[in-house]
């Protein structure tokens, strides 16, 4: 029988652990992976077994907040595992985590993160600061780094949120697999298709019709679709837009009012008009 979840700690000290620590204390989350410097990087494990991976995601700031988009393909080696993967995940009312890498690990991280923010707000009776949230994700990545070294469980996320203090503004970060966070002013892209996407976003931002931050919603959606489609052109792991199956990338927008998920019909309309 699994240990009862409903047990009250009689010697409760009154101070709240952070949520991952609480989960580990209760044996509900695996311990942080140990980084073993002796084991060969990309050794046996990786050759024998290819983990399922999710690919290209991008995010940039535009006039209506931050747009976060991801294609829908998940692959394992040469095989397409799934063509409707959801890589753009809502963490709370104002935060999005988009993932490239191993979904098994990434979805678990997103779950831990989502509960961490809520647990903090409920126990401490105040919202966690944006810096605190950014750090929380960084810590999860650091805890996971041992698995990355063993060739499994690499996750490279983008984190987009809206900060109301001290002044209201959209904030955008990308991470490396070890947990370093990098705040960006305009755009970020990670995953196997990201070199192409970065090229396009850099070009658009500097020499396009207008800088990314000045785009309206339709223009922003159009550029996101074009970028993902370009990435898919050369990168087999990126799904881009599936014209025959009518599968479109997932696009969400973070603004002061919260998160909006764009309807597929709207994305399809922009696609028909400006991309196809």
């Amino acid at each position: 029988m699994e240990p009862s979840l409903v047990r009250l700690d009689q010697n409760f000290a009154g101070t709240a652990d952070d949520f991952p620590t609480l989960l580990r204390r209760k044996g509900l989350l695996g311990p942080a992976a140990i980084v073993d410097p002796i084991s060969p990087v990309g050794g046996l494990h990786q050759r024998n077994w290819e983990p399922t991976e999710a690919t290209t995601i991008l995010a940039f700031k535009f006039s209506g907040g931050v747009l976060v988009a991801g294609d829908r393909r998940a692959t394992s080696g040469n095989t397409v595992v799934y063509d409707r993967a959801d890589k753009v995940l809502e963490i709370d009312r104002h935060s999005i985590m988009a993932i490239a890498g191993v979904p098994a690990t990434a979805w678990e991280m997103a779950r831990v993160l989502e509960h961490s923010f809520q647990y903090f707000r409920r126990t401490q009776l105040q919202e966690m600061s944006v810096d605190g949230k950014v750090r929380a994700l960084s810590k999860l990545l650091r805890d996971n780094f041992g698995f990355v070294m063993q060739g499994v469980g690499m996750v490279v996320p983008i984190f987009a949120t809206y900060d109301s203090h001290p002044k209201p503004e959209a904030r955008l970060y990308f991470y490396d697999a070890m947990g370093a966070q990098f705040e960006v002013t305009d755009y970020a892209a990670t995953g196997s298709g990201s070199p192409a996407v970065r090229g396009i976003l850099y070009y658009e931002n500097n020499w396009g019709a207008k800088p990314l931050q000045k785009l309206n919603e339709d223009e922003a959606v159009s550029i996101a679709l074009r970028a993902l489609d370009t990435a898919a052109e050369s990168d087999t792991s990126t799904g881009g837009v599936d014209r025959s199956g009518k599968i479109y990338p997932l696009i969400k927008i973070v603004s002061q009012d919260g998160i909006t998920t764009l309807a597929e019909t709207k994305i399809a309309a922009v696609f028909k008009q400006t991309v196809a």
């Binding site: 409903v6 047990r7 009250l8 609480l22 989960l23 509960h115 409920r122 126990t123």
Partner: protein, 259 residues
């Protein structure tokens, strides 16, 4: 002492008397189901008494702040770990209270050499429809009272918590008469403020079982509102949202009170 059964009963009775005296000054809390959710309300601004526990669960409590805090943290911890390992839909107020909080509070109360919890709590869980709302009151000895139908009474879409039994019962009979379950927010807010006033008046006058007259309640309510802040929170029924709890600001409520 506890080798003799009679002494144990006596010790428990003393302890009960002591706790009741400690809780007697606790300002009332009213929780009312209405069309779009559940409203928790109390007046006062010394310390927070209404809390979010999980996506669909909120709590109001009176008693010692240290004890309230321990129970509140425990409830959040249990609900959060359950919601994380299974799903938010598996977190249920009934299980939380019946299997976790109540047994612990009962044993703390009955172990006469240890300290009991000096707290009395009111929980509510919002349902898809008003008939599915659940209200549970948990006493310091682990006793649970529900809003559900019994042989003696129909199901209630409200619950009250107060320092004394008389005060609570007056609030309950007031709400029984005044509150309609399918009402809008403004009507629920007014009933909650009046129920609070009834409860608070009973605490101040002591051992009364008389319901104060309507004009007296309204006068008292106006006086209190002029001097003190409103603390309130709602659990929204809106199924498109995961997290239903929202604390309400004093300012946004004042705009809805037409006195």
């Amino acid at each position: 002492m506890i080798e003799e059964p009679y002494r144990w009963v006596e010790a428990i009775a003393n302890r009960r008397e002591y706790i009741e005296a400690q809780l007697a000054s606790g300002s009332p809390i009213a929780a009312l189901g209405y069309r779009d959710g559940i409203l928790f309300l109390t007046l006062g601004q010394t310390r927070q008494k209404i809390f979010e526990i999980y996506n669909r669960i909120a709590m109001g409590a009176i008693g010692h702040p240290g004890d309230i805090e321990r129970l509140r943290m425990a409830a959040i911890e249990l609900a959060s770990t359950e919601g994380f390992t299974r799903s938010a839909a598996d977190v249920s107020l009934r299980r939380l209270v019946h299997y976790s909080l109540s047994p612990v509070m009962k044993s703390a109360f009955e172990q006469v050499y240890g300290a009991p919890y000096l707290a009395r709590m009111l929980f509510a869980e919002v349902g898809e429809r008003p008939e599915e709302d659940l209200f549970l009151r948990v006493e310091y000895d682990g006793e649970i009272a529900t809003s559900g139908a019994t042989f003696a009474q129909a199901r209630n879409d409200f619950a009250a918590l107060s320092g004394t039994r008389q005060s609570r019962e007056l609030m309950e009979s007031f709400l029984q008469a005044e509150h309609a379950p399918d009402t809008g927010f403004e009507a629920a807010l007014k009933s909650a403020l009046d129920a609070w006033s009834v409860g608070q008046m009973a605490l101040q006058t002591g051992d009364t079982k008389e319901m104060p007259v309507r004009t007296a309640v309204e006068k008292y309510r106006r006086e209190q509102l002029a001097n003190t802040g409103i603390e309130a929170g709602i659990l929204e029924r809106d199924p498109s949202r995961g997290i239903r709890y929202r604390a309400l600001m004093d300012k946004e409520l004042r705009a809805l009170i037409h006195d």
